[in-house]
């Protein structure tokens, strides 16, 4: 699970070819040297802290070196984060003094000093210094991120630094820094379009940019346009489709969309996904999004955004049209199981919507599609068997 952050980073290997575990003497010696270097650094940091030696430039350099060796070593980032001054938790290790000292050195000032400056000039100078430190810290983490893009602790430290921008700089300056951060998020997603962390990070940055602290306003239109962009680059990007499903309710709300506008919106979404299915009917991402749209038709209590004015007849008409369109796909693609699955699912929905049992023709269709599913996708035979039971059970009961 390459996605899941810290645990996997250090605890597991992904995609590294199995090689002989026998090292040559040279290799072993090289490992021993690296170990010695690593442990030496770590011992130095701990010793300095334990001895209460807070001549911090040396200490700060050490933590930087240690971080470069092993960005997963969160304790070190914890030390840096401790600059926040929040945590008496470590006080039993007498680290609070150390962090206070570090803060003085890193930020060039005493955090205990009152926030209000004596003069404007003083304020200006402090802000310039803060800006310089914040920028250099942000730059410091970039190479670390390039090396370990999924390391949570680097992101966390970066976010803390960005938070400092809000706390210490004028909103206009802080906003600029955060806007650059959105650029970074876009760049990362450009490189790895499904990167889980990058999507989450983007959501976070956007929330900040929308906040009053940064004099922001809603970015839902821009973010929706961003998903459109991502989809046009790569139809198979489920992360973008997912993000879309989450943005739509808010988007329509903020547009103040009435029933007609919402219906038109749904029409457009359906057309787009249908066209996508025409070229890529074996793509799960597309079907998931199609299901989301269909849920707006058949489960309006959970997904009301696009169909508030729909009567039952509207829902039936829309769903019937979708089923017919999907049937047409069969002419070009006779062996794509997702088509049969869609047909089966939506036909069952249609019957439920109309509170009736499948008629004879539908029954024959359902049976034929199920047979196709069994043939094309025997891995999920257990599920097909359950579906069959479900459908005929309904018939038997009523």
């Amino acid at each position: 699970m390459a996605d899941q952050g810290r645990i996997q980073q250090g605890g597991s290997q992904h995609g590294i070819a199995r090689t002989s575990r026998v090292r040559t003497d040279d290799q072993r010696q090289r490992d021993l040297d690296r170990i010695a270097k690593y442990r030496d650094l770590e011992d130095q940091v701990r010793a300095l802290a334990a001895a209460g030696d807070y001549t911090a430039p040396a200490l700060f350099q050490l933590t930087s070196r240690l971080l470069r060796l092993n960005p997963e070593y969160y304790t070190t980032l914890g030390w840096v984060l401790m600059l926040d001054g929040v945590l008496e938790f470590f006080s039993f290790r007498h680290y609070s003094t150390l962090f206070h000292q570090l803060l003085v050195i890193v930020l060039g000032r005493d955090p205990a000093r009152p926030r209000l400056p004596d003069s404007w000039e003083d304020w200006y100078n402090t802000e310039t210094q803060d800006l310089a430190v914040i920028k250099s810290e942000l730059a410091f983490t970039i190479p670390l991120l390039l090396e370990s893009p999924k390391c949570y602790w680097i992101w966390s430290y970066r976010l803390w630094t960005l938070q400092q921008a809000i706390a210490r700089l004028r909103p206009a300056l802080a906003r600029k820094i955060w806007e650059e951060e959105l650029g970074l998020a876009s760049k990362m997603l450009g490189k790895d379009r499904r990167n889980f962390h990058a999507w989450g990070y983007r959501r976070h940055v956007v929330t900040q940019l929308e906040s009053a602290a940064l004099q922001g306003s809603s970015m839902v239109e821009a973010e929706f346009a961003y998903t459109q962009n991502m989809i046009e680059t790569d139809l198979s990007n489920f992360s973008a489709w997912h993000s879309r499903s989450r943005l739509i309710p808010r988007l329509l709300e903020e547009r103040g969309a009435g029933e007609e506008a919402r219906r038109a919106f749904l029409d457009k979404e359906l057309t787009q996904i249908r066209e996508a299915l025409n070229v890529g009917p074996e793509d799960q991402s597309l079907w998931y999004y199609h299901q989301f749209l269909v849920l707006n038709l058949v489960a309006p209590e959970k997904h009301p955004a696009m169909t508030p004015g729909f009567t039952r007849d509207d829902r039936v008409a829309y769903l019937t049209r979708e089923i017919d369109e999907i049937k047409e796909l069969l002419e070009d693609y006779a062996d794509v199981k997702l088509i049969y699955e869609g047909l089966f699912e939506y036909t069952v929905y249609l019957c439920r919507l109309q509170e009736r049992q499948p008629d004879a023709g539908e029954r024959a269709d359902l049976a034929a599609w199920l047979a196709k599913l069994r043939q094309l996708d025997p891995m999920r035979n257990g599920r097909w068997a359950d579906l069959e039971r479900e459908v005929s059970l309904e018939g038997g009961n009523e």
Binding site: M1, S12, R18, N70, Y73, T75, L81, L87, H242, R380
Partner: protein, 328 residues
């Protein structure tokens, strides 16, 4: 898998003794750089290795007294555990510590020589955000449904679930649900098999499985099995042995493991083992590690591979342990 072990063809044989030896060797690799780089995972690693050994039917392959000494040496006055002595306390290592002590039946040592159960419970409970119900991993504040699950897991083992606001936590999980029936790392995030496991398991511990859309989730989970028999964690991603656990245990919790091809999954996991030197990797031919070893074995156990001890699908611990500790 109803055959007995001996009847299985060679490619379906589990290399039990190689795996035991591999896990036993993990702590004697102090001359390897990775050993030190992964020091921040030492306690988690011990939990993974110990659980693997129990599932393999070799519960005594690690010395019990030393295990207890090491675990207790990682504990802070706050009650929380660090990953190794001298490391800051963290939710994940604290959960591992509780799971290890539960597995080797050593809660009494925690009482007499450690800071006591109550203090551990207090440490975990303090990491709950009382406004949103979610949990942070440590005092730095990272929030993730993994930590919520970890808290529920450890607190229920300690019998201290009442220290936290279960209802609020449950509401938070509900907010992480997506239209596809899955769950993401936080509200708004895409469904992911690892997060689905943590959310469904936490809901199961809380007795709130009624909130799970089992049909839709079961379908999404079953679609994680791809050609070759392995499971992936999200649509259009590669298969990986650790998902044998996240996906399969979730299917087990909602009663739908029959929605995938179990025999093919067994064969996939077994193709990922290193039969000579032991251990299991993410995919065939890759480097093995203890993480994929335990989750591969736990998957095989859920698939009722002959000779393995039954695993608890909610806790990822031997069923005999959860039965004893939880009194079921």
């Amino acid at each position: 898998m109803s055959q007995t072990f001996q009847q299985l063809p060679e490619e379906l044989q589990l290399a039990t003794s190689a795996h035991v030896k591999y896990i036993q060797s993990l702590d004697s690799r102090k001359d390897e750089y990775d050993y030190w780089l992964t020091e921040h995972l030492r306690l988690n690693g011990l939990y993974w290795g110990l659980t693997a050994l129990h599932l393999l039917g070799h519960p005594d392959a690690l010395p019990r007294a030393e295990t207890i000494d090491f675990v207790l040496s990682c504990q802070h006055d706050s009650g929380g555990f660090g990953a190794a002595p001298g490391h800051d306390a963290h939710m994940l290592s604290t959960v591992s510590a509780v799971q290890i002590l539960a597995t080797i039946d050593a809660f009494d040592e925690l009482e007499t020589r450690g800071k006591g159960k109550a203090q551990v419970g207090k440490y975990i409970a303090n990491l709950q955000n009382r406004e949103t119900g979610t949990f942070a991993g440590d005092e730095w504040g990272e929030e993730d449904t993994r930590f919520l699950y970890g808290a529920f897991n450890a607190l229920s083992l300690l019998g201290l679930l009442d220290l936290v606001d279960v209802d609020k936590a449950v509401n938070h999980i509900a907010a992480c649900a997506n239209f596809d029936g899955g769950y993401g790392v936080s509200p708004g995030a895409e469904s992911h098999a690892g997060q689905i496991f943590t959310c469904v398991a936490a809901l199961t511990i809380a007795g709130r499985q009624d909130l799970v859309d089992k049909e839709r989730l079961g379908r999404w989970l079953s679609e994680r099995q791809i050609a070759g028999g392995g499971l992936n964690g999200r649509p259009e991603k590669k298969e990986d042995v650790c998902y044998s656990w996240w996906v399969l245990s979730s299917l087990e919790m909602i009663g739908k493991t029959h929605w995938i091809d179990k025999d093919q999954l067994v064969a996939f996991i077994l193709r990922c083992q290193d039969p000579e030197r032991g251990g299991i990797s993410d995919r065939p031919g890759d480097m093995v590690d203890v993480w994929h070893t335990v989750f591969g074995l736990a998957g095989l156990s859920l698939l009722q591979y002959p000779g393995l001890q039954p695993v608890d699908e909610v806790y990822c611990m031997p069923k005999s342990t959860t039965a004893r500790v939880l009194g079921r």
